[in-house]
Protein backbone atom coordinates (compact mmCIF):
# COMPACT_ATOMS: atom_id res chain seq x y z
CA UNK A 1 0.00 0.00 0.00
CA UNK A 2 2.79 2.39 0.86
CA UNK A 3 4.14 2.28 -2.69
CA UNK A 4 1.00 3.77 -4.20
CA UNK A 5 0.38 7.50 -4.27
CA UNK A 6 -1.73 8.67 -1.32
CA UNK A 7 -5.36 9.59 -2.01
CA UNK A 8 -5.43 12.38 0.55
CA UNK A 9 -2.47 14.45 1.67
CA UNK A 10 -2.98 16.60 4.77
CA UNK A 11 -0.35 19.14 5.74
CA UNK A 12 -1.79 22.01 7.75
CA UNK A 13 -1.48 24.38 10.68
CA UNK A 14 -4.52 26.31 11.85
CA UNK A 15 -5.13 29.23 14.19
CA UNK A 16 -8.28 31.01 15.28
CA UNK A 17 -6.85 34.50 15.73
CA UNK A 18 -3.91 34.02 18.07
CA UNK A 19 -5.12 30.65 19.29
CA UNK A 20 -3.16 27.78 17.81
CA UNK A 21 -5.54 24.87 17.23
CA UNK A 22 -3.79 22.49 14.88
CA UNK A 23 0.01 22.41 15.01
CA UNK A 24 1.69 21.00 11.89
CA UNK A 25 -0.73 18.20 11.25
CA UNK A 26 0.70 16.03 8.52
CA UNK A 27 -0.62 12.65 7.40
CA UNK A 28 -1.70 10.75 4.28
CA UNK A 29 -4.66 8.53 3.58
CA UNK A 30 -4.59 5.82 0.93
CA UNK A 31 -7.31 4.67 -1.42
CA UNK A 32 -10.02 2.60 0.29
CA UNK A 33 -8.28 2.95 3.61
CA UNK A 34 -10.18 3.52 6.85
CA UNK A 35 -8.15 5.97 8.88
CA UNK A 36 -9.13 7.00 12.39
CA UNK A 37 -8.09 10.26 13.99
CA UNK A 38 -8.33 9.79 17.73
CA UNK A 39 -7.82 12.56 20.27
CA UNK A 40 -9.28 14.08 23.42
CA UNK A 41 -12.29 16.37 23.11
CA UNK A 42 -11.44 19.98 22.47
CA UNK A 43 -8.34 19.07 20.52
CA UNK A 44 -9.56 20.60 17.28
CA UNK A 45 -10.80 17.45 15.59
CA UNK A 46 -13.93 19.07 14.16
CA UNK A 47 -11.82 21.95 12.89
CA UNK A 48 -9.63 19.36 11.18
CA UNK A 49 -12.70 17.74 9.59
CA UNK A 50 -13.96 21.11 8.36
CA UNK A 51 -10.57 21.85 6.81
CA UNK A 52 -10.20 18.45 5.15
CA UNK A 53 -13.71 18.75 3.69
CA UNK A 54 -12.86 22.15 2.23
CA UNK A 55 -15.42 24.04 4.33
CA UNK A 56 -12.68 25.89 6.18
CA UNK A 57 -9.47 27.39 4.80
CA UNK A 58 -6.37 26.44 6.88
CA UNK A 59 -4.08 29.21 8.14
CA UNK A 60 -1.09 27.47 6.62
CA UNK A 61 -0.56 24.52 4.34
CA UNK A 62 -3.10 22.63 2.27
CA UNK A 63 -5.20 19.51 1.90
CA UNK A 64 -4.85 17.65 -1.36
CA UNK A 65 -7.31 15.13 -2.70
CA UNK A 66 -6.17 13.17 -5.75
CA UNK A 67 -3.22 15.57 -5.95
CA UNK A 68 -5.49 18.64 -6.30
CA UNK A 69 -6.43 21.16 -3.59
CA UNK A 70 -9.63 19.97 -1.96
CA UNK A 71 -12.79 21.68 -3.27
CA UNK A 72 -16.31 20.38 -2.55
CA UNK A 73 -17.65 22.02 -5.70
CA UNK A 74 -15.25 20.09 -7.94
CA UNK A 75 -14.68 16.87 -6.01
CA UNK A 76 -17.07 14.45 -4.40
CA UNK A 77 -16.77 14.61 -0.65
CA UNK A 78 -19.12 13.09 1.89
CA UNK A 79 -19.20 14.37 5.42
CA UNK A 80 -21.17 13.08 8.40
CA UNK A 81 -21.33 15.93 10.88
CA UNK A 82 -21.02 15.58 14.63
CA UNK A 83 -24.07 17.78 15.13
CA UNK A 84 -27.50 16.63 13.94
CA UNK A 85 -27.72 17.45 10.28
CA UNK A 86 -31.22 16.41 9.21
CA UNK A 87 -33.40 18.97 7.47
CA UNK A 88 -36.54 18.95 9.66
CA UNK A 89 -38.86 19.75 6.73
CA UNK A 90 -37.61 16.88 4.59
CA UNK A 91 -38.64 13.27 4.97
CA UNK A 92 -36.02 10.58 5.61
CA UNK A 93 -36.00 9.84 1.90
CA UNK A 94 -35.52 13.45 0.86
CA UNK A 95 -32.94 14.02 3.57
CA UNK A 96 -30.83 11.25 2.08
CA UNK A 97 -31.53 12.41 -1.44
CA UNK A 98 -30.39 16.02 -0.97
CA UNK A 99 -26.76 15.09 -1.57
CA UNK A 100 -27.66 13.48 -4.91
CA UNK A 101 -29.96 16.38 -5.81
CA UNK A 102 -27.09 18.80 -5.33
CA UNK A 103 -24.87 16.66 -7.53
CA UNK A 104 -27.48 16.89 -10.27
CA UNK A 105 -28.29 13.17 -10.36
CA UNK A 106 -31.51 12.38 -12.26
CA UNK A 107 -34.71 11.84 -10.30
CA UNK A 108 -35.09 8.19 -11.28
CA UNK A 109 -31.50 7.43 -10.34
CA UNK A 110 -31.96 9.24 -7.00
CA UNK A 111 -34.96 7.04 -6.13
CA UNK A 112 -33.07 3.89 -7.00
CA UNK A 113 -30.01 4.79 -4.98
CA UNK A 114 -32.07 5.87 -1.99
CA UNK A 115 -33.91 2.58 -1.84
CA UNK A 116 -30.58 0.72 -2.08
CA UNK A 117 -28.96 2.67 0.71
CA UNK A 118 -32.09 2.53 2.90
CA UNK A 119 -31.72 -1.22 2.98
CA UNK A 120 -28.07 -0.98 3.94
CA UNK A 121 -28.63 1.32 6.92
CA UNK A 122 -31.84 -0.46 7.92
CA UNK A 123 -34.27 2.40 7.45
CA UNK A 124 -36.59 0.71 4.95
CA UNK A 125 -40.17 1.50 5.93
CA UNK A 126 -39.22 4.86 7.42
CA UNK A 127 -38.59 6.69 4.14
CA UNK A 128 -41.63 8.96 4.51
CA UNK A 129 -41.10 9.84 8.17
CA UNK A 130 -39.98 13.29 9.26
CA UNK A 131 -36.89 13.66 11.49
CA UNK A 132 -38.98 14.57 14.53
CA UNK A 133 -40.73 11.21 14.26
CA UNK A 134 -37.60 9.06 14.47
CA UNK A 135 -34.97 8.47 17.14
CA UNK A 136 -31.57 10.12 17.46
CA UNK A 137 -29.79 6.99 16.29
CA UNK A 138 -31.98 6.80 13.22
CA UNK A 139 -31.29 10.45 12.42
CA UNK A 140 -27.59 9.70 12.51
CA UNK A 141 -28.19 6.75 10.19
CA UNK A 142 -29.94 9.13 7.80
CA UNK A 143 -26.81 11.29 7.76
CA UNK A 144 -24.68 8.20 7.16
CA UNK A 145 -26.96 7.00 4.37
CA UNK A 146 -26.75 10.45 2.79
CA UNK A 147 -22.97 10.26 2.90
CA UNK A 148 -22.81 6.74 1.49
CA UNK A 149 -25.24 7.14 -1.41
CA UNK A 150 -22.94 9.62 -3.14
CA UNK A 151 -20.03 8.15 -5.03
CA UNK A 152 -17.49 10.07 -3.03
CA UNK A 153 -13.73 10.26 -3.34
CA UNK A 154 -13.49 10.85 0.38
CA UNK A 155 -15.84 10.16 3.29
CA UNK A 156 -15.34 12.04 6.54
CA UNK A 157 -17.16 11.02 9.72
CA UNK A 158 -16.80 13.40 12.67
CA UNK A 159 -17.66 11.66 15.95
CA UNK A 160 -20.82 10.34 14.34
CA UNK A 161 -21.78 8.20 17.32
CA UNK A 162 -20.78 10.61 20.08
CA UNK A 163 -24.27 11.01 21.44
CA UNK A 164 -25.37 7.39 21.21
CA UNK A 165 -25.58 4.84 24.00
CA UNK A 166 -23.00 2.06 24.10
CA UNK A 167 -25.27 -0.57 22.56
CA UNK A 168 -26.44 1.51 19.61
CA UNK A 169 -22.92 2.76 19.15
CA UNK A 170 -21.56 -0.78 18.83
CA UNK A 171 -24.33 -1.66 16.39
CA UNK A 172 -23.64 1.42 14.29
CA UNK A 173 -19.90 0.77 14.24
CA UNK A 174 -20.51 -2.68 12.83
CA UNK A 175 -22.92 -1.15 10.35
CA UNK A 176 -20.38 1.39 9.13
CA UNK A 177 -17.82 -1.36 8.70
CA UNK A 178 -20.34 -3.46 6.79
CA UNK A 179 -21.23 -0.57 4.50
CA UNK A 180 -17.59 0.35 4.04
CA UNK A 181 -16.66 -3.22 3.09
CA UNK A 182 -19.56 -3.34 0.63
CA UNK A 183 -19.11 0.04 -1.01
CA UNK A 184 -15.35 0.60 -0.54
CA UNK A 185 -14.57 4.21 0.17
CA UNK A 186 -11.62 6.18 1.46
CA UNK A 187 -12.68 7.05 4.99
CA UNK A 188 -11.43 9.44 7.66
CA UNK A 189 -13.20 8.62 10.92
CA UNK A 190 -12.76 11.08 13.76
CA UNK A 191 -13.42 10.04 17.35
CA UNK A 192 -12.44 10.63 20.98
CA UNK A 193 -13.04 6.99 21.80
CA UNK A 194 -9.92 4.83 21.63
CA UNK A 195 -11.81 1.55 21.67
CA UNK A 196 -13.95 2.70 18.75
CA UNK A 197 -10.86 3.80 16.82
CA UNK A 198 -9.05 0.49 17.32
CA UNK A 199 -12.21 -1.44 16.45
CA UNK A 200 -12.65 0.33 13.12
CA UNK A 201 -9.34 1.54 11.77
CA UNK A 202 -6.75 0.24 9.35
CA UNK A 203 -4.52 2.93 10.76
CA UNK A 204 -4.74 5.42 13.62
CA UNK A 205 -3.50 8.97 13.93
CA UNK A 206 -3.26 9.84 17.62
CA UNK A 207 -3.74 13.51 18.54
CA UNK A 208 -2.48 15.28 21.66
CA UNK A 209 -4.38 17.79 23.78
CA UNK A 210 -4.89 21.27 22.37
CA UNK A 211 -3.08 22.62 20.49
CA UNK A 212 -3.25 19.33 18.64
CA UNK A 213 -0.08 17.65 17.47
CA UNK A 214 0.23 14.18 16.05
CA UNK A 215 1.74 11.95 18.73
CA UNK A 216 2.02 8.87 16.58
CA UNK A 217 0.55 6.89 13.72
CA UNK A 218 -0.40 3.33 14.63
CA UNK A 219 -1.25 0.56 12.16
CA UNK A 220 -3.95 -1.85 13.32
CA UNK A 221 -3.27 -5.17 11.64
CA UNK A 222 -6.04 -7.14 13.33
CA UNK A 223 -8.40 -9.21 11.18
CA UNK A 224 -12.08 -8.23 11.03
CA UNK A 225 -14.52 -8.70 12.63
CA UNK A 226 -12.53 -7.61 15.63
CA UNK A 227 -13.36 -8.81 19.09
CA UNK A 228 -13.28 -6.15 21.79
CA UNK A 229 -12.02 -8.59 24.40
CA UNK A 230 -9.34 -10.34 22.32
CA UNK A 231 -5.83 -10.03 23.90
CA UNK A 232 -4.34 -8.51 20.70
CA UNK A 233 -7.12 -5.95 20.59
CA UNK A 234 -6.59 -5.07 24.22
CA UNK A 235 -2.85 -4.70 23.83
CA UNK A 236 -3.22 -2.22 20.94
CA UNK A 237 -5.91 -0.37 22.83
CA UNK A 238 -3.64 -0.21 25.87
CA UNK A 239 -0.71 1.05 23.82
CA UNK A 240 -2.80 3.85 22.30
CA UNK A 241 -4.13 4.82 25.73
CA UNK A 242 -0.61 5.04 27.09
CA UNK A 243 0.41 7.25 24.15
CA UNK A 244 -2.32 9.70 25.08
CA UNK A 245 -1.41 9.58 28.77
CA UNK A 246 2.24 10.32 28.07
CA UNK A 247 1.21 13.32 26.04
CA UNK A 248 -0.94 14.60 28.88
CA UNK A 249 1.96 14.41 31.36
CA UNK A 250 4.34 16.38 29.17
Amino acid sequence: MSFTKPKVEVDITHRFGDLLVLDQIRFDVYENELLCVVGPSGSGKTTLANIISGLLEPSEGSVKLDNKPVNPRKQNISYVFQARSCFPWRTVKDNIGIALELKGVSRVEVQKRISDVLKIVGLTGFENYYPNQISGGMKQRVAIARAFCVESDLLILDEPFGSLDAQTRYLMQSEVLRVWEKMKRTVIFITNNIEEAVFLADRLVVFSNAPAKIIKEVGVGLPRPRVLTHPDFLSIRGAVSRLSDVARDV
Binding site: P72, R73, F81, R84, S85, F87, P88
Partner: protein
Protein backbone atom coordinates in the same frame (compact mmCIF):
# COMPACT_ATOMS: atom_id res chain seq x y z
CA UNK B 1 -49.50 14.22 13.16
CA UNK B 2 -50.06 10.83 14.72
CA UNK B 3 -47.08 8.86 15.87
CA UNK B 4 -46.99 5.09 15.84
CA UNK B 5 -47.32 4.79 19.59
CA UNK B 6 -50.73 6.50 19.69
CA UNK B 7 -52.41 3.52 18.12
CA UNK B 8 -50.62 1.11 20.37
CA UNK B 9 -51.92 2.84 23.50
CA UNK B 10 -55.58 2.91 22.42
CA UNK B 11 -57.63 0.88 24.92
CA UNK B 12 -58.10 -2.82 24.30
CA UNK B 13 -61.66 -3.99 23.59
CA UNK B 14 -62.94 -0.88 21.81
CA UNK B 15 -61.06 -1.93 18.72
CA UNK B 16 -63.79 -3.78 16.87
CA UNK B 17 -63.15 -1.67 13.78
CA UNK B 18 -59.88 -1.81 11.86
CA UNK B 19 -57.52 1.04 12.82
CA UNK B 20 -58.09 3.17 9.71
CA UNK B 21 -61.88 3.32 9.79
CA UNK B 22 -61.75 3.54 13.58
CA UNK B 23 -59.61 6.64 13.33
CA UNK B 24 -61.97 8.09 10.77
CA UNK B 25 -64.94 7.35 13.01
CA UNK B 26 -63.27 8.96 16.03
CA UNK B 27 -62.36 12.03 14.06
CA UNK B 28 -65.89 12.47 12.80
CA UNK B 29 -67.26 12.14 16.30
CA UNK B 30 -64.90 14.83 17.57
CA UNK B 31 -65.78 17.05 14.62
CA UNK B 32 -69.55 16.77 15.19
CA UNK B 33 -69.09 17.49 18.88
CA UNK B 34 -67.01 20.58 18.18
CA UNK B 35 -69.56 21.82 15.68
CA UNK B 36 -72.39 21.36 18.16
CA UNK B 37 -70.56 23.36 20.84
CA UNK B 38 -69.79 26.17 18.45
CA UNK B 39 -73.40 26.36 17.33
CA UNK B 40 -74.47 26.47 20.95
CA UNK B 41 -72.10 29.39 21.62
CA UNK B 42 -73.55 31.32 18.67
CA UNK B 43 -77.11 30.71 19.83
CA UNK B 44 -76.23 31.76 23.35
CA UNK B 45 -74.56 34.91 22.09
CA UNK B 46 -77.59 35.89 19.99
CA UNK B 47 -79.91 35.17 22.93
CA UNK B 48 -77.95 37.42 25.29
CA UNK B 49 -77.75 40.10 22.62
CA UNK B 50 -81.55 40.02 22.09
CA UNK B 51 -82.16 40.22 25.79
CA UNK B 52 -79.88 43.17 26.13
CA UNK B 53 -81.51 44.95 23.18
CA UNK B 54 -84.93 44.25 24.67
CA UNK B 55 -84.04 45.88 27.99
CA UNK B 56 -82.38 48.85 26.40
CA UNK B 57 -85.53 49.74 24.47
CA UNK B 58 -83.83 52.12 22.10
CA UNK B 59 -84.17 52.12 18.34
CA UNK B 60 -80.42 52.87 18.08
CA UNK B 61 -79.43 49.55 19.61
CA UNK B 62 -78.92 46.94 16.89
CA UNK B 63 -80.93 43.76 17.35
CA UNK B 64 -80.30 40.29 15.88
CA UNK B 65 -83.57 40.48 14.02
CA UNK B 66 -82.82 43.97 12.74
CA UNK B 67 -79.40 42.88 11.53
CA UNK B 68 -80.87 39.85 9.76
CA UNK B 69 -83.39 42.10 8.05
CA UNK B 70 -80.64 44.54 7.08
CA UNK B 71 -78.61 41.69 5.55
CA UNK B 72 -81.57 40.59 3.47
CA UNK B 73 -82.24 44.16 2.42
CA UNK B 74 -78.61 44.85 1.49
CA UNK B 75 -78.25 41.60 -0.43
CA UNK B 76 -81.47 41.93 -2.39
CA UNK B 77 -81.86 45.68 -2.94
CA UNK B 78 -78.42 46.99 -2.10
CA UNK B 79 -77.79 50.16 -0.11
CA UNK B 80 -79.58 53.43 -0.79
CA UNK B 81 -77.17 54.10 -3.66
CA UNK B 82 -77.87 50.69 -5.16
CA UNK B 83 -74.56 48.98 -4.31
CA UNK B 84 -75.25 45.44 -3.12
CA UNK B 85 -73.55 43.93 -0.09
CA UNK B 86 -71.46 41.68 -2.34
CA UNK B 87 -70.09 44.63 -4.27
CA UNK B 88 -69.03 46.30 -1.03
CA UNK B 89 -67.39 43.13 0.26
CA UNK B 90 -65.75 42.35 -3.07
CA UNK B 91 -64.34 45.86 -3.43
CA UNK B 92 -62.74 45.70 0.02
CA UNK B 93 -61.51 42.15 -0.53
CA UNK B 94 -59.78 43.01 -3.81
CA UNK B 95 -58.13 46.06 -2.25
CA UNK B 96 -56.89 44.10 0.73
CA UNK B 97 -55.65 41.24 -1.42
CA UNK B 98 -53.75 43.54 -3.79
CA UNK B 99 -52.04 45.53 -1.05
CA UNK B 100 -51.35 42.43 0.98
CA UNK B 101 -49.87 40.49 -1.94
CA UNK B 102 -47.58 43.38 -2.77
CA UNK B 103 -46.53 43.58 0.88
CA UNK B 104 -45.90 39.84 0.98
CA UNK B 105 -43.71 39.82 -2.12
CA UNK B 106 -41.75 42.89 -1.08
CA UNK B 107 -41.54 41.93 2.60
CA UNK B 108 -40.11 38.51 1.82
CA UNK B 109 -37.60 39.61 -0.81
CA UNK B 110 -36.42 42.68 1.08
CA UNK B 111 -36.38 40.80 4.40
CA UNK B 112 -34.30 38.01 2.89
CA UNK B 113 -31.98 40.40 1.12
CA UNK B 114 -31.34 42.58 4.15
CA UNK B 115 -31.10 39.55 6.43
CA UNK B 116 -28.44 38.00 4.22
CA UNK B 117 -26.54 41.26 3.85
CA UNK B 118 -26.90 42.83 7.31
CA UNK B 119 -24.79 45.82 6.27
CA UNK B 120 -27.66 46.95 4.05
CA UNK B 121 -30.11 46.96 6.93
CA UNK B 122 -27.62 48.49 9.31
CA UNK B 123 -27.03 51.51 7.12
CA UNK B 124 -30.64 52.06 6.01
CA UNK B 125 -32.04 51.43 9.49
CA UNK B 126 -32.19 55.14 10.30
CA UNK B 127 -34.77 55.56 7.55
CA UNK B 128 -36.63 52.26 7.80
CA UNK B 129 -37.21 52.12 11.54
CA UNK B 130 -38.84 55.56 12.02
CA UNK B 131 -41.13 54.89 9.04
CA UNK B 132 -42.14 51.61 10.64
CA UNK B 133 -43.50 53.44 13.66
CA UNK B 134 -45.64 55.87 11.69
CA UNK B 135 -49.15 54.33 11.80
CA UNK B 136 -50.61 53.70 8.32
CA UNK B 137 -53.58 55.81 9.35
CA UNK B 138 -51.30 58.81 9.62
CA UNK B 139 -50.43 58.37 5.96
CA UNK B 140 -54.03 58.61 4.81
CA UNK B 141 -54.16 62.39 4.32
CA UNK B 142 -50.93 62.33 2.30
CA UNK B 143 -52.24 59.40 0.27
CA UNK B 144 -55.45 61.28 -0.45
CA UNK B 145 -53.50 64.27 -1.68
CA UNK B 146 -50.84 62.44 -3.70
CA UNK B 147 -52.69 59.42 -5.07
CA UNK B 148 -55.97 58.59 -6.64
CA UNK B 149 -58.43 55.72 -6.71
CA UNK B 150 -57.21 52.19 -6.27
CA UNK B 151 -53.54 52.99 -5.67
CA UNK B 152 -54.50 54.94 -2.57
CA UNK B 153 -56.00 51.89 -0.88
CA UNK B 154 -53.22 49.60 -2.02
CA UNK B 155 -50.62 51.98 -0.64
CA UNK B 156 -52.23 52.21 2.80
CA UNK B 157 -52.69 48.45 3.07
CA UNK B 158 -49.19 47.81 1.82
CA UNK B 159 -47.86 50.10 4.56
CA UNK B 160 -49.75 48.19 7.23
CA UNK B 161 -48.95 44.67 6.04
CA UNK B 162 -45.38 45.16 4.84
CA UNK B 163 -43.60 45.79 8.12
CA UNK B 164 -44.81 42.77 10.12
CA UNK B 165 -43.75 40.50 7.24
CA UNK B 166 -40.48 42.29 6.54
CA UNK B 167 -39.43 42.37 10.18
CA UNK B 168 -40.24 38.73 10.91
CA UNK B 169 -38.32 37.51 7.84
CA UNK B 170 -35.40 39.79 8.68
CA UNK B 171 -35.28 38.60 12.28
CA UNK B 172 -35.51 34.92 11.39
CA UNK B 173 -32.38 34.79 9.20
CA UNK B 174 -29.87 34.53 12.09
CA UNK B 175 -31.78 31.53 13.47
CA UNK B 176 -31.00 29.46 10.37
CA UNK B 177 -28.94 26.43 11.40
CA UNK B 178 -25.37 26.83 10.06
CA UNK B 179 -24.78 23.06 10.04
CA UNK B 180 -27.44 22.60 7.37
CA UNK B 181 -25.73 25.27 5.30
CA UNK B 182 -22.48 23.29 5.61
CA UNK B 183 -24.27 20.12 4.50
CA UNK B 184 -25.32 21.84 1.29
CA UNK B 185 -21.87 23.31 0.76
CA UNK B 186 -19.98 20.09 1.34
CA UNK B 187 -22.10 18.23 -1.21
CA UNK B 188 -21.23 20.85 -3.80
CA UNK B 189 -24.21 23.22 -3.47
CA UNK B 190 -24.02 26.84 -4.58
CA UNK B 191 -25.13 29.96 -2.69
CA UNK B 192 -28.39 29.77 -4.59
CA UNK B 193 -28.87 26.18 -3.34
CA UNK B 194 -28.31 27.38 0.22
CA UNK B 195 -31.02 30.01 -0.16
CA UNK B 196 -33.47 27.68 -1.87
CA UNK B 197 -32.97 24.50 0.13
CA UNK B 198 -32.05 25.84 3.55
CA UNK B 199 -32.88 29.48 4.20
CA UNK B 200 -36.27 29.67 2.50
CA UNK B 201 -37.73 26.54 4.15
CA UNK B 202 -36.30 27.75 7.47
CA UNK B 203 -38.02 31.13 7.30
CA UNK B 204 -41.39 30.05 5.83
CA UNK B 205 -42.93 29.68 9.31
CA UNK B 206 -41.77 33.23 10.06
CA UNK B 207 -43.14 34.46 6.73
CA UNK B 208 -46.51 32.96 7.53
CA UNK B 209 -46.76 34.30 11.06
CA UNK B 210 -45.77 37.71 9.76
CA UNK B 211 -48.40 37.36 7.03
CA UNK B 212 -51.09 36.52 9.58
CA UNK B 213 -50.36 39.69 11.54
CA UNK B 214 -50.06 41.67 8.32
CA UNK B 215 -53.45 40.50 7.14
CA UNK B 216 -55.08 41.68 10.36
CA UNK B 217 -53.44 45.08 10.04
CA UNK B 218 -54.49 45.22 6.37
CA UNK B 219 -58.17 44.95 7.30
CA UNK B 220 -57.77 47.59 9.96
CA UNK B 221 -56.26 49.92 7.39
CA UNK B 222 -58.72 49.31 4.55
CA UNK B 223 -61.70 50.31 6.63
CA UNK B 224 -60.04 53.50 7.79
CA UNK B 225 -58.88 54.30 4.25
CA UNK B 226 -62.34 53.72 2.81
CA UNK B 227 -63.97 55.84 5.45
CA UNK B 228 -61.93 58.85 4.45
CA UNK B 229 -61.15 58.46 0.80
CA UNK B 230 -62.88 58.49 -2.50
CA UNK B 231 -65.18 55.85 -3.89
CA UNK B 232 -68.63 55.00 -2.64
CA UNK B 233 -68.08 51.28 -2.45
CA UNK B 234 -66.35 49.14 0.16
CA UNK B 235 -67.26 47.82 3.58
CA UNK B 236 -65.72 50.76 5.40
CA UNK B 237 -67.71 53.08 3.17
CA UNK B 238 -70.87 51.08 3.86
CA UNK B 239 -70.43 51.55 7.60
CA UNK B 240 -69.86 55.25 7.22
CA UNK B 241 -72.86 55.76 4.90
CA UNK B 242 -75.23 54.30 7.47
CA UNK B 243 -73.46 55.99 10.36
CA UNK B 244 -74.56 59.29 8.86
CA UNK B 245 -78.13 57.99 8.96
CA UNK B 246 -77.72 56.56 12.48
CA UNK B 247 -78.89 53.17 11.21
CA UNK B 248 -76.98 50.84 13.47
CA UNK B 249 -78.29 47.54 12.11
CA UNK B 250 -76.68 48.19 8.72
CA UNK B 251 -73.48 49.32 10.43
CA UNK B 252 -73.31 46.01 12.27
CA UNK B 253 -73.73 44.15 8.96
CA UNK B 254 -70.61 45.87 7.64
CA UNK B 255 -68.69 45.12 10.82
CA UNK B 256 -69.85 41.52 10.87
CA UNK B 257 -68.77 40.91 7.29
CA UNK B 258 -65.30 42.32 7.91
CA UNK B 259 -64.99 40.05 10.93
CA UNK B 260 -66.12 36.99 9.02
CA UNK B 261 -63.90 37.58 5.97
CA UNK B 262 -60.91 38.22 8.23
CA UNK B 263 -61.66 35.08 10.21
CA UNK B 264 -62.01 32.93 7.11
CA UNK B 265 -58.78 34.19 5.55
CA UNK B 266 -56.93 33.54 8.79
CA UNK B 267 -58.35 30.00 8.87
CA UNK B 268 -57.17 29.50 5.28
CA UNK B 269 -53.72 30.63 6.34
CA UNK B 270 -53.75 28.24 9.31
CA UNK B 271 -54.72 25.42 6.95
CA UNK B 272 -51.80 26.29 4.71
CA UNK B 273 -49.54 26.35 7.75
CA UNK B 274 -50.74 22.93 8.83
CA UNK B 275 -50.10 21.53 5.37
CA UNK B 276 -46.69 23.15 4.88
CA UNK B 277 -45.38 22.38 8.33
CA UNK B 278 -46.52 18.82 8.83
CA UNK B 279 -42.91 18.12 9.75
CA UNK B 280 -43.43 20.10 12.93
CA UNK B 281 -44.76 18.47 16.07
CA UNK B 282 -46.92 21.39 17.09
CA UNK B 283 -48.66 24.24 15.34
CA UNK B 284 -48.51 27.57 17.10
CA UNK B 285 -51.73 29.50 16.76
Amino acid sequence: MESLSDQAISPVGTNSLDPVSREFYDRRKVFVKKLAYRLLVIILFIAIWSLFAQFAQSSYIPTPFGVAKAIAQLVVNGDFEGYSLWRHAWASFVRVLSGFSLALIMGVTLGLFMGLFPVLYDTTKVIIEPIRFIPPLAWIPIAIVLMRGFSRYVFIIWLGAFFPIFISVLASIPSVDPILKDVIKVYGGTRFDIIKKNILPCVTPEILSGAKIGLGVAWMCIVAAEMIGGENVGLGRLILKYADLLKTNEIVVGMLLIGIIGYLSNEAMLGLEKYLFRWRTKITL
